[in-house]
Symmetry: C2
Subunit: 371 residues, 2 copies
C-alpha cells in the first residue's frame, strides 16, 4: 500500500532532491515553502491571492483554529478548504509549538494551557490534536510533540524525546481509528532531540518505527546556531526513509532553506516572509530591503526590478512605502504578495538547480547575498 504522501524523486544533486509528492488531494513539487495561514488566512491575503501565488502547500495553525472558531465550526462550514476557499494542499501543525511558547503544564498524558483569547484553560492530548486536525480537514496532519527551548539540559531534551515518541504512537493509533477526517489524510510524525545528534537519531528511529506518511523535524531554529542546527538535522535525515516527505519546521530564511535542501529536506514553513512584509522588510534579488528607509520615498521603481509578481508589476516602492508608513492594510497585502512570490521563486530556483546539478552554485549565491 502506498503512503498517503508518496515521494517520487524527480532529480538528485548530492543529498538534495526535487520530488513530486502525491496525496489524496493531488501533487505538489519540492523543495516547497509553505506560507503560514495562522487563523485560516495568510495574513492580509485571501484564497484568490493564494491561487495566483500558487504555493505547493499552505500551513494552518491547529492551535489557533481550535480556539477560534473551533474545529467543529470549521467542520460545520465544510472543512478548511471550503471554509477558506482555498483548494490547494493544507497542512496543519498540531499546536505543539504554539502551546510550548505559552509555558504550558505538560504531563505524560498531554498539555494544559491558557487560551490567549479568553483566559480559559484548554487541554490538548495527542488524540485531541488528531481529532482537531481531522475535523479541520487538513490534507496533512502533524502529531502533537513536545518542544524544548535551546539550549536545554540533556535530561529535559531526553524527556521531550520520550514523550514525543509515546505521543506519536498514540496519535498514529488514534488516526487509524477515527472516521471524522478526510479520506487519505496524511499524518506526519515529528523528530525531536534538540541539538544532540545521537538524540536526534534516536528520535528519528523511534518515529520512523511508527510508519508515518512523512516526517517533520521540529524543535530547531529556536535559538541554536546554524552549524548545530545542520548537524542535528543531518543526523535525523540519515534515518528518515527516502520515499516520505521531510519537513523542517519553522525555518524560512534563505540560507537556512538552501543548507537544509542540500541535506535532503523537502519542505519548510515560516512566518518570516509574511511577518517581515508587514514590517516593511522586502525580500529581493539583492537581499533584504528596508522599505521604511526615507531614500525610497520618491522611488518610482518596483520592490524588486527582476520580480514578476503582481505587486512589482503595478506599484512603486514610493507608493508602498507611503502606505506602509501611514499604516494602510493595503501595504501589508501587497508586500506580502511580493515576499511570498520571492520565496516561491527561490524554491523554483532550487528545484531547477537540483535538476541541473547546479545546487552548489545557487548555494554560494544565496550565502553571499543573505548571510
Amino acid at each position: 500500500m502506498s503512503a498517503a504522501a508518496q515521494v517520487d524523486v524527480v532529480a538528485r544533486d548530492g543529498a538534495a532532491r526535487s520530488s513530486t509528492v502525491t496525496t489524496a488531494r493531488g501533487t505538489y513539487r519540492t523543495p516547497a515553502f509553505m506560507p503560514v495561514g495562522t487563523r485560516g488566512a495568510v495574513k492580509a491575503l485571501d484564497a484568490v491571492d493564494l491561487e495566483q501565488l500558487g504555493p505547493a502547500v499552505v500551513l494552518a495553525n491547529t492551535y489557533h483554529l481550535l480556539l477560534r472558531p473551533g474545529a467543529e465550526v470549521v467542520a460545520a462550514l465544510g472543512g478548511i478548504h471550503r471554509f477558506t476557499g482555498f483548494s490547494g494542499h493544507v497542512l496543519t501543525d498540531s499546536g505543539g509549538y504554539q502551546v510550548h511558547s505559552l509555558a504550558p503544564v505538560v504531563d505524560d498524558d498531554g498539555v494544559t494551557f491558557t487560551s490567549v483569547y479568553d483566559g480559559s484553560e484548554v487541554r490538548l492530548t495527542p488524540e485531541g490534536a488528531v481529532d482537531a486536525q481531522g475535523l479541520i480537514g487538513a490534507d496533512v496532519a502533524m502529531v502533537l510533540d513536545v518542544c524544548t527551548t535551546l539550549p536545554a539540559p540533556t535530561a529535559i531534551v531526553r524527556t521531550a524525546v520520550e514523550r514525543t515518541a509515546a505521543w506519536a504512537a498514540r496519535a498514529r493509533e488514534h488516526h487509524r481509528r477515527i472516521e471524522h477526517r478526510p479520506a487519505g489524510q496524511a499524518l506526519f510524525g515529528i523528530v525531536q532531540g534538540g541539538v544532540d545528534p545521537e538524540l536526534r537519531r534516536e528520535s528519528a528511529e523511534r518515529t520512523v518505527d511508527l510508519d508515518f506518511d512523512g516526517y517533520g523535524i521540529g524543535g530547531l531554529s529556536v535559538g541554536e546556531g546554524r552549524p548545530e542546527l545542520l548537524d542535528a538535522l543531518a543526523a535525523a535525515i540519515d534515518v528518515l526513509p527516502a520515499d516520505r516527505p521531510r519537513y523542517l519546521m519553522g525555518v524560512g530564511d534563505p540560507v537556512g532553506i538552501v543548507e537544509a535542501v542540500a541535506l535532503g529536506v523537502d519542505q519548510f514553513d515560516c512566518v518570516a516572509p509574511t511577518r517581515l512584509a508587514r514590517h516593511g522588510t522586502v525580500l529581493t534579488e539583492e537581499g533584504r530591503l528596508n522599505l521604511r528607509n526615507a531614500r525610497f520615498a520618491r522611488d518610482d521603481g518596483p520592490l524588486d526590478p527582476v520580480c514578476p509578481c503582481s505587486t512589482c508589476a503595478r506599484w512603486s516602492r514610493g507608493y508602498l512605502r507611503h502606505l506602509l508608513t501611514v499604516g494602510e492594510p493595503t501595504a501589508w497585502r501587497l508586500i506580502t504578495i511580493h515576499n511570498l512570490s520571492w520565496m516561491l521563486a527561490l524554491m523554483d530556483r532550487l528545484s531547477e538547480a537540483i535538476q541541473r546539478g547546479e545546487l552548489e552554485r545557487v548555494r554560494r549565491d544565496v550565502a553571499e547575498r543573505w548571510a
Copy 2:
C-alpha cells in the same frame, strides 16, 4: 466653451436625474457614490479591487496626502493615478472638512492647524489647497471652504458663508493661473450656509457667480436632522445650474442618498460603507447585518444572497465572521468589497429607476428597509 465637468442628462424623474458627466479623463454616470481613499488607498483595497468594483469616481483626501507623503511626492511619483495605479476618476477634497474637525485657527487668509502625524503647525490657504490638488493631479479639485458644526448661531454660519465665498473667488482665480495641474482639471465650488435655506441660497448664488465646473454642497450631515438637511439642500439646488454636477458631501446612508437624488443631487461620498465593513456591519438587500452576532458563526451562506460581488461568490458569513472576530485584515478587505459593491449597485438601481420613472418606488423600498 464647455465646462471641465459637463453634465448630459440622460433621464429625469421629477427633480432627480441620471446623467453622463464628461471630464478630461472620460465619462462617469450619475447618480454616483464615491468610495473614500483617505491616504491614497480605499482602506484595505488596491487599484485592482477598484477596477473590479468600477466606482465612477474615487475620493482622495488632500489633507492626508498633503501631510503624508506630501503633494510634491505624489507629483514626483507621477500624480495620484500613477501613484495608486488607479486609472479612473479621482476627486480630491480640499482638506477643509478634516481641518475643521481639528479645531483650527481660522483667519481671513486661511487656516492653521496641527498635524496629526508629527504635531507640526501647518498652514492651508485657498491657493495652497488648489496648488496641492494640482500637484496631486486630481481630475476634480475642490475649493477650500469653511465648515461649521451644527447647530450654530446665525452669525457663525454667516461668517463661514462670507469666508467660503471670498476663498472660492481666490481659489477660482488661482486655479486659472497655475500650470502645475492636469490639463482640464475640474474645480468645484462649495455651498455652505448651515440649515438656513436663505443662507444656503445666498451661498449657492455667490458660488455660482464664480462659474465653477461643479458644485459641492458641504457642511451638512454634521448633526442636523434629515428634514433640515433636505430643506437646506433643496434651497441650494434651486440655484445650481443644470449642466454642472451637484455633489452632496459626506452623505452615504441609503435613505439620505435616495432623498438627495430625488432632489437632483448627482454624486456622494462617505466613509460609512468602508468603515462599517471593518467593524462588521454589512449592507444587504434586507438592511444592515451585524456579522459579529454569534448566530452567524456556522452560517455557510454569503453575506447577501442576492449579491453578485466577488466576496459573496466565494466566502461564507461564518468564515468572514471568524476572520473579523480574530482581527484578520483579510476580513476588512473582503467585507469592504461587498459593502462597496452593494453601494454601487444601489446607485445603478437609482439610475435605472430614474430612467424608468420609478424612483418613487425605490424610495419607498429603501425607506422601509433602511429607516
